[in-house]
């Protein structure tokens, strides 16, 4: 009997793998393959015409000793990553709590907040470029209404990154929806018990909501940071990396090196260094998170 059963399961497993085969194939051919290829290319010099030529660690040596622009790009990327994630999580949580309290109309608002996430990004970027216009743009006009003279935004080396972080809030819907789900998971009796003990709103928020939401906050921070580390189209479309390289993020740098400068090997090395920075960072975040979450 057990033999027949295992045969049945083996067949089931086989069918399962068959169904997963397209993904497995795609993953290994189009994701894993290129990843391994870039690792190999990072040790070579490759102009995309002649075969790659092995040069060992020279690309990495150049990266660490001769290329200040990489560190600038890295700084820009981290500025953007942490800026946008901090704002997104903070404001996302705020809106989620507002929404979960206003039970009536919550579905409609949830949809409204989520809508921008599904809009195509290029037209949205053009829209934001118009909004950031120092003179005729909506943002500075509103600021002017309050007597504040708005900055040059995308034309200013100081304000270009904050402008892009502000723009990233446009895609906050995803985070709100995840927070909402998390909020609805918090058992009502915790709040009721706290109320009986005389806790006020602020206390309830800090003592119940935040700790109970910690895994969700953590999830949003990690996925947000990794997502923001891939920032590319914003600077490629809106600023071209300028002014004064203030919006040259690592991915734009890699793209320019690979396809404009045709230094595939060097661009691959840069991608791997970025990877080597992001992996330990994520591990560190997990370690920190473990300390925070004591349940």
């Amino acid at each position: 009997m057990p033999k027949r059963r295992s045969k049945y399961f083996r067949r089931k497993t086989l069918i399962g793998y068959l169904f997963a085969a397209p993904w497995l194939l795609g993953m290994s051919l189009f994701v894993l393959g290129p990843i391994i290829a870039t690792l190999f290319l990072s040790f070579t010099t490759y102009d995309m015409i002649n075969p790659p030529r092995w040069i060992g660690l020279v690309n990495y040596k150049i990266l660490f000793s001769l290329d200040p622009s990489f560190w600038k790009a890295l700084g820009n990327t981290f500025y953007y990553m942490f800026g946008s994630v901090f704002l997104k999580v903070f404001i996302g949580l705020f809106f989620a709590i507002l929404l979960s309290n206003a039970l009536r109309g919550m579905r409609i608002f949830r949809t409204i907040y989520f809508l921008p996430v599904v809009l195509p990004s290029i037209p949205v970027m053009f829209l934001w470029m118009m909004m950031f216009n120092p003179k005729s743009g909506l943002i500075n006009q509103i600021l002017g209404f309050f007597g504040v003279e708005g900055p040059l935004w995308l034309n200013s080396p100081v304000w270009s990154k904050p402008a892009m972080i502000l723009m990233s809030l446009w895609g906050i819907g995803g985070i709100i929806v995840i927070f909402l789900a998390g909020l609805q998971d918090i058992p009502e009796y915790l709040y009721e018990a706290a109320e009986l003990d005389g806790a006020n709103r602020v206390q309830k928020f800090w003592r119940i909501t935040v700790p109970m939401l910690m895994p969700v906050i953590f999830f949003n921070i990690v996925t947000g940071l990794i997502g923001a580390s891939q920032v590319f189209a914003e600077s490629y479309i809106m600023t071209g990396g300028g002014p004064l390289e203030s919006t040259t993020f690592v991915n734009l740098k890699i793209y320019l090196l690979a396809f404009k400068d045709v230094k595939m090997g060097y661009a691959s090395a840069m991608a791997w260094v970025m990877f080597m920075i992001l992996v330990p960072m994520t591990i560190l975040l997990f370690k920190i998170a473990k300390k925070w979450m004591n349940y």
């Binding site: 015409i49 040069i55 045709v262």
Partner: protein, 422 residues
């Protein structure tokens, strides 16, 4: 039999074949960017003419790709050995590709066809096609930058619209009379906007008689002469105020929203094909074109599109035949009226009928003294470092000296990087 003679015979043979078609036609692929407007129509017509004349011998299959996607597609095609036989490329960095061996040296073919490149093509563009004694591209299209000025604004300011400025002193004198400021102190009309259009620092430096290549052939962007030019450049921007200029500029865009077309810029430097934009968006605009004012010598900057042939092409002769056809006087003349930029064939460009048009004449005159950014194999994008230095100085982040010193260091690092990886 010499190489030259052999090639000549083969060329003749190909031409003969076109009259007595026997075999199946050789198909060659041609990639370009003529995908809309009059340039598309004329290119289709030119290709159809060629195919008709070579029926049964050579057939050109063309593919038009938008400017924005073109470069990545071509590079990926080269990487996968799928590149077309004939393709358009960037005239400014032919050497970059020639050094990799992907381009066919056209000199023997030109000689075989008894064509003297020096006679046919303008000097500037031709020098960009040359690499280590060979000719690796043909200058299909080129351009120049000139001073565009608004005659109506000249009249309003009491200036003679037929007398554009020739020196920078004159230019600023005129500009100050044209500039208008609104009640809030913002610019309504800017007499001369140094940040507008195609105004680049290297053109100004060339006008000052400065070269970025020293007598040993090395790139030097921080020589005292360059530093002085950048100081003057920054002074020009500071007298108007960078912030105010940026705010002014952000009100305008491209096409009908262009500041000059909207009549808000008295004088500005633009590429010659601005003419066709003005025709399209503001046919009534009364404007003139002049050489960019020059401190020491006339200077302007050119770039453009080259026609290149893959060294891996299986049908080199047919590809050369088609490329030479595109560069022929007859075809270039056809293109002259329809492309928005200039043609690379000097004989066609000097066609008396074309030269009757003062705008054309002005551009061709400028083509005679124009420069290209010097190509340096070890640091082909060196000018981006220069451009960053210009911006740093403009924004007041660094002094011109400091900014240019840093740019020089970066360029030298690039050269060192090249040597380490090659």
């Amino acid at each position: 039999m010499s190489m030259k003679k052999a090639l000549a015979l083969m060329l003749v043979f190909v031409m003969l074949l076109s009259t007595f078609s026997l075999a199946r036609a050789t198909k060659i692929k041609f990639w370009h960017m003529y995908i809309s407007g009059p340039s598309k129509d004329i290119m289709q017509e030119i290709i159809a003419d060629f195919n008709e004349a070579h029926k049964g011998v050579i057939e050109v299959e063309d593919l038009g790709i938008s400017f924005w996607d073109y470069w990545d597609k071509l590079r990926v095609a080269m990487a996968s050995r799928q590149e077309p036989d004939v393709f358009l490329n960037d005239l400014g960095n032919v050497g970059m590709r020639a050094s990799t061996g992907i381009l066919l040296d056209l000199r023997p073919y030109l000689e075989a066809a008894d064509l003297s490149p020096e006679e046919i093509f303008f000097n500037g563009p031709l020098s960009m096609c040359s690499y280590e004694g060979g000719i690796y591209a043909l200058p299909l299209e080129t351009d120049v930058r000139l001073l565009f000025y608004n005659k109506d604004l000249f009249r309003e300011a009491g200036l003679d619209p037929e007398k554009p400025p020739t020196t920078w002193e004159e230019l600023w004198e005129y500009a100050d009379r044209i500039t208008k400021v609104d009640a809030d102190g913002n610019y309504d009309i800017v007499g001369f906007n140094p940040l507008y259009g195609q105004s680049y620092f290297w053109m100004y430096a060339w006008g000052n008689g400065v070269s970025f290549i020293d007598e040993n052939g090395n790139l030097v962007v921080n020589s005292p002469e360059v530093v002085k030019s950048l100081e003057e450049w920054c002074d020009m921007i500071n007298r108007l105020g960078l912030e105010k200029l940026l705010a002014f500029g952000s009100n305008f865009g491209w096409g009908a929203a262009d500041a000059f077309i909207a009549g808000k810029v008295g004088m500005g430097i633009q590429v010659g094909n601005m003419v066709s934009n003005i025709k399209a968006y503001a046919p009534d605009l009364d404007y003139g074109i002049a050489h960019i004012p020059w401190p020491k010598q006339k200077a302007t900057w050119s770039n453009g599109f080259s026609l290149e042939i893959s060294s891996r092409s299986k049908h080199k002769l047919a590809a050369v035949e088609f490329a030479l056809y595109l560069m022929s006087d007859e075809v270039q003349l056809k293109l002259a009226g329809k492309l928005s930029s200039l043609i690379g064939n000097k004989r066609a460009a000097y066609n008396p009928e074309l030269m009757e048009d003062p705008e054309w004449k002005m551009q061709i005159e400028a083509l005679e003294y124009t420069k290209f950014r010097p190509f340096v194999l070890e640091a082909p994008l060196w000018y981006m470092n220069l451009q960053t230095a210009v911006e740093e100085a403009m924004y007041g982040k660094k002094t011109p000296q400091q900014a240019l010193d840093d740019a020089q260091k970066l360029i030298e690092a690039d050269i060192q990087k090249y040597k380490m990886t090659h």
